[in-house]
Amino acid sequence: MIDGHDGRLAVLTSRVRLEENLIFTALERRRVPYLQVDERDLMAELRPAETRFRGVLNRIMSHTRSVYAARLFEAGGVTVFNSAHVTATCGDKILTTTALACAGVPTPRTIVALTPRAALEAIERIGYPAVVKPAVGSWGRLMAKVNDRDAAEALIEHKEALKSPIHTVFYVQEYIDKPGRDIRVAIIGDEVVAAIYRGSDHWITNTARGGKPEPCPLTDELVKLTRLASDAVGGGLLAVDLLERPDGELLVNEINHTMEFHGLVEATGIDLADRLVDYIEETLCE
């Protein structure tokens, strides 16, 4: 149940990866009372909560369950890191890019087509090569670089064959000819903490796909864009991913609300888990 644990910080988990291990260690070092809650055990009776957690750190990997869990805890009056609104926005690329575009944050040119019928036109308008991504998901899974009309038609037909509403909504972006790397920046509240380059020979640059992390200097422009992007989606504990055009222009690509930070720790030596716990404690004590 989501209530009945007065006074402790709940850490919601799907798996205990390196990040969760570091977070638990940081909590234990400070003697912060917490309870690891496996999301598979979560249930909530829809009534006002009588006792509740002091706060919730949401590390659930499933976007669907993560948003519901955050909303249920927030309905019980508990502060959730990140908020349900931020999680819902960042976990969906269409909502993220919409929020960024509305805030005037530079992003790759993007067209959303709500049906397969509109998808080919969207891809042709973006031009080849175009990148088609699922609205929900990470780690570069199911991303397609579409080099010509033949490939576009085949991709659309295959997605239609999946018979899933989510796969018949198309998020189409211009392909950015980046210099073999992207940039990940961690921002905690208003503080831009650290940045890394994630290099790869593959067009998908992601540490989950073998992208190699290297320290990246926090330039004024990078800090400014990261703050703008964070504000656009509601702020919190976030990892902002940026791309560089060949002329050096920076574009915000994605924002991650349950950030994986082992690459950041490896490349910069900064104790991100400690910073996360700092922020959570300071916020809950306000």
Partner: protein, 61 residues
């Protein structure tokens, strides 16, 4: 000198020995060095392993 204590437990898939760190936490994932499957630590005292749930379509960060 760092001492890494490891407990060897049978893989529920292939039966071969899987080394698990003695300080492993519940819900950690370990790989079977023999058959390669991902295993979830269900309990730590004693260590009990099961096939890890597959990554779902909406999993991410």
């Amino acid at each position: 000198m760092a001492i890494n204590t490891v407990i060897n437990t049978a893989c529920p898939e292939c039966g071969k020995s899987v080394p698990v760190a003695a300080d492993a936490r519940v819900s950690s994932i370990v790989g079977c060095p023999d058959c390669g499957v991902e295993l979830e630590v269900l309990s730590v005292d004693p260590i009990e392993l099961a096939l890890a749930p597959e990554i779902e379509e909406d999993f991410g960060e």
